[in-house]
């Protein structure tokens, strides 16, 4: 019993050490964002939270269009999320619950697209969007990502187990067409799965860097991540301001995550187990 107890304590000590490592960079971000730059440059460095946080945040707003970038990022993230939820769940519903000629072939094709890292085609993707005249516009951020193989695969697994065939049969008897069946039978049952896919998609678009860096070439229309890097590049030595910007950019997502995170983590793990 005694060794059991010691093992438990050691386990928690190990876990708490890990938590400290996980959380420390956030604390350090706050320390730097709330002190003045000379304080940060001083030796020994200040290790506690200072009193200049709002002043530093103000400097961020003076130097970049922070809220403009945040709004653009929010619109892009929400846009992609809504489209992905709709297209992916609709396709998943059809794949999971209906027999149609070529279904398995099409699904196999969809799985095969996983194998192709489309990043290898970064250059022609850019050229394609340039041909469309989409460079610098929101369309470039939203449309290419509006449906994806991962989401369809994941939602299909979910739909197979979650939607009872009897409900669909009943809807058919009532004379509902395919789309109506999706709306009245599929969507309500798929809601928990949609919550996961929605958070997952939103976070990915919000944090994406390489793609917006390439396609958002108008300096007045940058995403948050690119604007933040620009702040860092131009005012790199003004650490307290740069860190205040970084802090402001991570707070919204962390808020979303702490509220909806518990189920999200379980779903991420469950998704990995399906592969």
């Amino acid at each position: 019993m005694r060794t059991e107890r010691i093992r438990t304590v050691v386990g928690h000590v190990v876990l708490m050490l890990g938590v400290v490592v996980s959380i420390f960079p956030f604390y350090w971000m706050l320390v730097m964002a709330s002190n003045t730059t000379p304080d940060i440059f001083a030796y020994p460095p200040k290790l506690v939270i200072g009193s200049h946080l709002f002043e530093n945040m103000g400097h961020v707003l003076d130097n970049i269009d922070f809220f403009g970038a945040m709004l653009l990022t929010l619109v892009a993230s929400l846009g992609v999320t809504v489209l992905v939820l709709f297209f992916d769940s609709l396709a998943a519903f059809a794949f999971a619950k209906y027999e149609f000629p070529g279904r398995d072939l099409l699904f196999g094709l969809l799985l095969a697209t996983f194998m192709i890292p489309t990043q290898l085609a970064l250059v022609p993707q850019f050229v394609t969007l340039a041909e469309f005249g989409w460079i610098g516009s929101l369309k470039a951020l939203i449309i290419p990502g509006a449906a994806n193989a991962f989401g369809i695969f994941w939602m299909r697994q979910y739909a197979k187990g979650a939607i009872p065939d009897e409900l669909i049969s009943a809807a058919k008897v009532d004379g509902a067409g395919f789309f109506r069946q999706y709306l009245t039978v599929g969507l309500p049952v798929l809601r928990p799965g949609l919550a996961f896919l929605g958070i997952f998609t939103f976070i990915n678009v919000w944090n994406d860097y390489l793609w917006p860096l390439i396609v958002m070439t108008d300096p007045n229309k940058l995403t948050l991540q690119v604007a933040l890097q620009q702040l860092n590049g131009v005012y790199g030595t003004d650490y307290s301001m740069v860190m205040a910007g970084a802090l402001m950019s991570v707070i919204p997502l962390i808020g979303v995550f702490i509220i909806g995170g518990r189920h999200f983590i379980a779903d991420i793990a469950a998704g990995a187990m399906k592969f």
Partner: protein
């Protein structure tokens, strides 16, 4: 929204018309085809076409504005003799190894501890997962300041214990350590959560049976946990490989505005940052496309290596299969009681 309108329209049309039309299997399935079509249309335009186009492009010299000039395999033959390209490959591989190996080992330790912990589970999970949802740009800025040459926290610490400062961000190896730390920090918790799910899927009866047979904890770890966890380890190894070979943002944020994208001595020049710089910095679109294909070949190569290594030799596969069989047998025998236990366990976990 135009596409979704189309889907809506077609679906409505068909449901209205099909009772009157001939009972054709394909025609009846039009709503389903419409439902799955958005992905295939988007993939054709933004995935398949660019991939094919990039093959064509890689045989040309093109600055993105003028006319494309056919150069045959010149881009590829230049690639093979380009020291910067090889440097970007070695840099990427070094960063990948020094981040992934400690990361997966640590993740396994954390997953084990999480598996045994009965209290604070939700707190731990959220705390471990938060790094993964935080933007690489912001994280890199914080780590950049921690590793900073002159006033970085790490150097302040080294000085306070009487050691010399290290110019982390001026030396090729220091840059790699800094980038690898960022990668490991962001992904250790994620991988631990995945391992944890794998551990939870292993029936505790197997351990019980092994304990009765007098197995040591060490034996149980290597003979039961690792073989049964193998598919999960493979998943984390493959995803870490694919992600690791595409490292870009960290070095771009650290050095992108300094003029040299790879930093001092090109110590942080990764494959994707070289691709980005060639195509979008120097407007060598054909060369960028060729680098993209080299990256693709590397990813396939390393995924296969992972598969072979972790897929294991036949002997080990047998062990794993045998263990699985035992697990299935025990599960079948105890189906009734086991189910009740599992439900109780789930409730227990949810309560925390």
């Amino acid at each position: 929204m135009a596409v979704s309108e189309t889907v809506r329209g077609r679906a409505a049309d068909v449901s209205a018309n099909s009772p009157d039309g001939p009972p054709n299997r394909f025609r009846q399935a039009i709503p389903q085809y419409a439902a799955v079509s958005p992905f295939f249309i988007l993939f054709a335009i933004f995935g398949a076409f660019p991939v094919l186009f990039s093959i064509w492009l890689s045989f040309h010299s093109w600055d993105g504005i003028g006319t494309m000039k056919w150069v045959g395999i010149e881009q590829y033959s230049y690639l093979l003799t380009d020291p910067s390209f090889w440097k970007s490959i070695t840099n990427t591989l070094i960063i990948w190894v020094i981040s992934t190996v400690p990361m997966l080992a640590l993740a396994l330790v954390i997953a084990n501890a999480l598996h045994n912990a009965t209290r604070f589970r939700t707190f731990y999970r959220i705390a471990y997962f938060i790094p993964n949802i935080t933007s690489v740009v912001a994280v890199t800025m914080v780590f950049g300041s921690i590793f900073s040459n002159n006033f970085g926290l790490l150097n302040a610490f080294l000085q306070s214990v009487g050691l010399d400062k290290i110019e982390w961000l001026s030396q090729p190896w220091g840059i790699k350590v800094a980038i690898a730390s960022i990668v490991a920090w962001r992904w250790t918790g994620y991988n631990a959560i995945i391992f944890l799910a794998g551990l939870q899927a292993i029936s505790s009866d197997i351990y019980e049976a092994a304990r009765v047979d007098g197995a040591s904890p060490r034996q149980m770890f290597w003979r039961i946990t690792v073989p049964l966890l193998r598919p999960v380890i493979l998943f984390t190894a493959v995803t870490s490989t694919i992600g690791g070979l595409q490292i870009f943002t960290e070095s771009q944020v650290l050095f992108g505005s300094s003029g040299a994208i790879g930093g001092p001595g090109d110590g942080g020049l990764t494959i994707v940052s070289y691709l980005y710089d060639s195509a979008f910095g120097k407007n060598q679109f054909g060369y960028g496309a060729a680098i993209g294909w080299a990256l693709f070949i590397l990813i396939v190569l390393f995924s296969v290596i992972n598969w072979r290594l972790i897929g294991g030799n036949d002997d080990e596969r047998l062990t794993s299969r045998a263990a699985r069989r035992v697990q299935r047998k025990i599960a079948a025998e105890r189906a009734g009681a086991g189910q009740a236990d599992a439900d109780a366990g789930k409730e227990h976990a949810d309560a925390h």
